[in-house]
Amino acid sequence: DAMVIQNPRYQVTQFGKPVTLSCSQTLNHNVMYWYQQKSSQAPKLLFHYYDKDFNNEADTPDNFQSRRPNTSFCFLDIRSPGLGDAAMYLCATSRRAPRTDTQYFGPGTRLTVL
């Protein structure tokens, strides 16, 4: 079945130790997103790729970076995780401009920072 896959599902890292979360999709969608969701809050968009075009949200900290080496894969790099970065990280895709399209979410990666 076509889907959005996130690995790992649970990630534990130490304060300041770089970590990479991965997302892959078999839907062949143009757009890929990374969201941060803290407990009982709305998902907050960090950035998205429209094909190779990278779009950073204005309030996304510099500590967060992303790479999309091809259509299928997208990575979220957290260069120096702080305690405040502990959250669920959600990857999503859509076929085209999200104004008119559904987003398909992966199961998420829960990040713990010790």
Binding site: A42, H48, P98, R99
Partner: protein
């Protein structure tokens, strides 16, 4: 600022009852979407309603949109314990020129068996 605000924040009902959740937003939109999230999981798309539509149905779901009041409601009829989840509305923002959705704060629905 948050584009979508949802009301109530939490709702607890008995199985078989109807559940109504409301979403208000601030700017002009092209469409509004509703998503569901089970605890600790990703979001699942439920329904999309365009700005020129007033009502849409999908199974036990009924969504209304009032663009003059900048509000939408999601009605789940004959609720089941399996409907227990958080429900989020999401809007695009025509004016901002952003190719992204903004999610509301969500309603946590608990359906008691």
């Amino acid at each position: 600022s948050q584009q979508g605000e949802e009301d109530p924040q939490a709702l607890s009902i008995q199985e078989g009852e109807n559940a109504t959740m409301n979403c208000s937003y601030k700017t002009s939109i092209n469409n509004l979407q509703w998503y569901r999230q089970n605890s600790g999981r990703g979001l699942v798309h439920l329904i999309l309603i365009r700005s020129n539509e007033r009502e849409k149905h999908s199974g036990r779901l009924r969504v209304t949109l009032d663009t003059s009041k900048k509000s939408s409601s999601l009605l789940i009829t004959a609720s089941r314990a399996a409907d227990t989840a958080s429900y989020f509305c999401a809007t695009d923002d025509v004016g901002a020129g952003r190719r992204a959705l903004t999610f509301g704060s969500g309603t946590r629905l608990q359906v008691q068996p």
